[in-house]
Symmetry: C2
Subunit: 193 residues, 2 copies
DNA sequence: CTTTAAATATACAGACCAGTCTGTATATGT
DNA sequence: ACATATACAGACTGGTCTGTATATTTAAAG
């Protein structure tokens, strides 16, 4: 077991370090040497775990997806335990995300912009991630507001994506509230039919 | 005059080439050597016009802002001459933008993601650009739907930003229609008070 | 025709890039 | 004791990056 433990600890240290650096300074702005130096790992250790930087990018995004999903779930549960509806809890979580000191937007949108290559495995993973995110959001809406509200889900997804990039470009979290208020209007309309 | 003409033609060729390359392959993915080779210009000519790549990036974004504004204006005028309202004309233009073969999203969002540095002059220009864009959109909404509709402008701006990134990540223009339909609902609500 | 300004081609410096290779240390399981 | 697996350190390759230096060509203006 300790063999596995050591193995996974090096791999995990690389993933955590790369995720932090890629997110804060950009994928192309961070070289392999930076990653291994800050992870405290030999270069060959990195290349034994990941065949190339491109593969590391992909694995970092998979790791990020897990981390984000679990963070969001927990944040929403905390909010719902305070009496918020699932949708309120979602927007409160998003808002607190935007307000984090190191917030720099969505890793997947950023990766798509940076890689500038729709054929890159990481770009295709981002497309897939957005599909999953849209479905998760749709589930939240249905759970909070009933099946008739589902018609508003695609527009609310677009609102959330817009809030994410707007909060980065404008440097404040205001867009979270704008998106939430608009979502309420769209759901009311969807319920009305 | 011809001296000036040669000068400005070299500068313009550099800007046009860099804009095209930066947009399609990413700012960090394109080196100065690529730009000068494809612009058919000597390296020193580029560095006589722009003191550094960072300055070139900024000037390219300024150039892009002009080009985009003029393209959008003309596209909207064409659409309005077919009987569309300013808002319909706006969304029709956006939709045709998304459908362009070389569409890769918003240069300013992409630059913000790529540069990963809020203090970079180009990032700050992007913030300013988004402010201008939001105001332009607000003017369109007021012109098309009256002053009471202005309350819906911030949310519609967020919708448009979301449609821009969603259309890139998902690889289709569907988000334009989703955003337009939602905008109509939000405007109706704003008019109702 | 000469002066002057701009653009040219080419070479260079120095940093950084991804990725490979060699060799060593450590710790496990046999 | 030995084999195996993993991690470590660090040099190295071949290439790219931005930016500078220099010397030559072009062409317009006085």
């Amino acid at each position: 077991m300790s063999k596995t433990q050591r193995t996974s600890s090096a791999r995990k240290r690389i993933l955590e370090t790369a995720e932090k650096l890629f997110y804060s300074e950009g994928i192309r702005g961070v070289g392999i040497d930076r990653v291994i130096a800050e992870a405290g790992v030999a270069k060959m250790t990195l290349y034994n775990h990941f065949s190339s930087k491109d593969e590391l990018i992909l694995e970092v995004l998979k790791y990020r997806e897990e981390q984000f999903e679990s963070w969001l779930k927990q944040a929403m549960e905390r909010n719902q335990s305070k009496g918020m509806s699932p949708l309120q809890a979602f927007f409160a979580a998003i808002r607190s995300w935007f307000k984090k000191a190191d917030y720099r937007g969505c890793s997947f949108i950023n990766a798509t912009a940076e890689l500038a290559d729709a054929h890159h495995a990481a770009s295709q993973f981002c497309t897939e991630h957005k599909r999953k995110f849209r479905e998760m959001l749709s589930d939240i809406i249905i759970k909070a507001e009933g099946p008739k509200a589902a018609a508003a889900a695609p527009a609310i997804h677009v609102l959330v994506e817009g809030a994410i990039v707007t909060s980065v470009c404008e440097g404040n979290a205001e867009a979270a509230d704008i998106a939430e208020q608009a979502a309420i209007v769209l759901i009311a309309k969807a319920k009305r039919g």
